[in-house]
Assembly symmetry: C2
Homo-oligomer: 345 residues x 2
């Protein structure tokens, strides 16, 4: 190859788990390796690509691979997640999701009935989300060259004319609305994986968010930006948005809802719910005078019934995320170097 690899090889000459964790290390791999090789700009980084169209409506495209372990968990399975995760990435750019592709990498020895259950779940999830699985592919690898099943879905949707939902559109004095409580998906999967029994049963929040975000647009709310809170949780999502928008973000810790079951599980495992993955939660950036209406519209949907205002965008530098604690002090809600939880999606 003529092009020299620009990554600092001395530090990480090989892929480590943290390269897939949603933190700073993954960000560097994406920006310094993939974007450098593909010639794309970090400024374009968003949950889905919005492609130029001939008329006012534009096409959006996104993809995600799913390697979650274990395959089944309370509230869903790898198939449900593969549908909702990709639908949600489309919703986050203001798109109406339409079509999905599904690529399966199966490990020799996977039980056929397991595959069937996953495929049936995908159909149910696609029906609920209003999308069609239109094309697919199946590959098989030898035992111990895979892990049961990996699924990739790519999604295509339409961004209607006039919708400009992007980190660039974030304005000083915007308020940040969170669609529901944090950490259910990550803690449910961790509890299942580690076979922990908690007093209160945990259930993943995984859900399709497109109907909920569509409601915001239909009500005429001027949505500036949307972001779902998957790998790396609320903290990583807000850090990405602070950097991409060049704005400082402030979050009131006491305003962020976390259920008691998630809080107990996090305490037991030494985890911070702000960094735990969600699969049915997003933040919505809207002008301050639209905050109440946004919360009301979100709460009227099933997926957004726990919506509340958690913070605001400030007209100051640096572009970091500041957490205002219940005691009135401030601290940095930093981007972690690596992930807390591997293979959570």
């Amino acid at each position: 190859m003529n092009k020299a690899c620009p990554l600092p090889l001395r530090q990480y000459p090989r892929v480590v788990m943290g390269h897939g964790g949603g933190g700073r290390l993954m960000k560097r791999l994406i920006e310094d390796l993939f974007m450098a090789a593909f010639g794309t700009s970090a400024k374009e980084a968003h949950d889905a690509a919005v492609l130029p169209g001939t008329d006012g409506d534009r096409l959006a495209m996104t993809t995600d691979s799913y390697v979650i372990h274990p395959l089944f968990f309370p509230g869903g399975n790898i198939g449900t997640l593969a549908v909702y995760g990709t639908v949600n990435d489309l919703a986050m750019v203001g798109a109406r999701p339409l079509w999905l592709s599904a690529g399966f990498i199966l490990e020799e020895g996977l039980e056929i009935v397991t595959l069937w259950d996953i495929a049936v779940s995908m159909k149910e999830a696609a029906d609920r989300a209003g999308v069609k699985i239109v094309t697919g592919d199946t590959k098989v690898v030898e035992k111990s060259k895979g892990d049961g099943i990996f699924i990739n879905t790519a999604g295509v949707g339409i961004v209607p004319e006039g919708r400009e939902v992007h980190p660039r559109a974030i304005q000083p004095s915007d308020v940040i609305v969170l669609s529901g409580d944090l950490g259910r998906h990550g803690m449910t999967v961790m509890a299942k994986r580690e076979q922990l029994a908690f007093d209160q049963e945990l259930k993943s929040d995984c859900a399709p968010l497109a109907a909920m975000t569509e409601r915001l647009f239909r009500e005429g709310i001027p949505v500036h930006c949307l972001r779902d809170l998957t790998r790396g949780g609320l903290a990583c999502a807000l850090n990405e948005l602070a950097e991409a928008s060049g704005r400082q973000i402030q979050v009131r810790e006491a305003s962020v809802p976390v259920s008691s079951s998630v809080r107990s599980a996090c305490e037991l495992l030494g985890l911070d719910p702000f960094y735990v993955a969600n699969e049915g939660r997003c933040v919505v950036f809207v002008p301050a005078d639209e905050a109440d209406r946004t919360v009301r519209v979100l709460r009227a949907t099933g997926e957004g019934r726990g919506a509340c205002v958690i913070g605001s965008v400030e007209d100051r530098t640096p572009s970091v995320v500041v957490l205002k604690t219940a005691l009135g002090s401030s601290r940095l809600l930093d981007m972690p170097e690596i992930e807390q939880l591997p293979r959570i999606c």
Copy 2:
């Protein structure tokens, strides 16, 4: 789950390598499991889905995962393949490929420079094929839960108004034009994998075919059907088309070009070049009176310089593939139960 799995579980209760091999077993998994679960019809089976559009142009979407082993081979690598393979699936429905997504599943321990070389190859391949990689995703799995790198690409393209390229469009008396000699990709990868040294160096045929097929359309050739000859090779592709079109296909064995190096490698390994995977070859179904022009147009392109007529569509039943041997006898060119070569793409 309420729906019962319709596959004959007694025969294959677990996934075996053959479920990914392009043969009859994979076909059953796709039709009896995925299509049954997703509620899609086998009649729609094509290399890409052609989606309804508002005006004359329609959107096409396709996906493939790539699990080839080894990752690098003479003529390309897993990245080149991931771009060309998906571009070619779009070309086979008459689409102009436009955008690709790229999903990476990395195994812990993969060398970063290897990933860089693959990513750079993908950019070069995308440039050559005239497509853009617009969105991506990275996941990491623990050592021995993957195999270096798996790549999924999904592709989106536009099928211009008036193009109806489909197995259903195959007509009796159509002739079948093959775009070049058979078996290079499969035998190159097998030779590399098994560390076999052959007298003549083998090189994969992997190449983007969209510019070549676009030329056919621009010359006004009434193309009825296109199919690339990947997993399962020419034999599986023609069997699928015979079944999907309900027509009998006849192939003259002596007309099918196979290089001496591929022939020697096949003999050594006990393989039949008609069943070996290609990554830069396709068959073109056209009316008999367009055969000469089709060959001429294909030969004027780099990718189709070895084009020749290899057979025809017959107005008789059953819808099978009949091979006319050099000695004048006939035999069935059957669909194999399982693959000859695992993880060839």
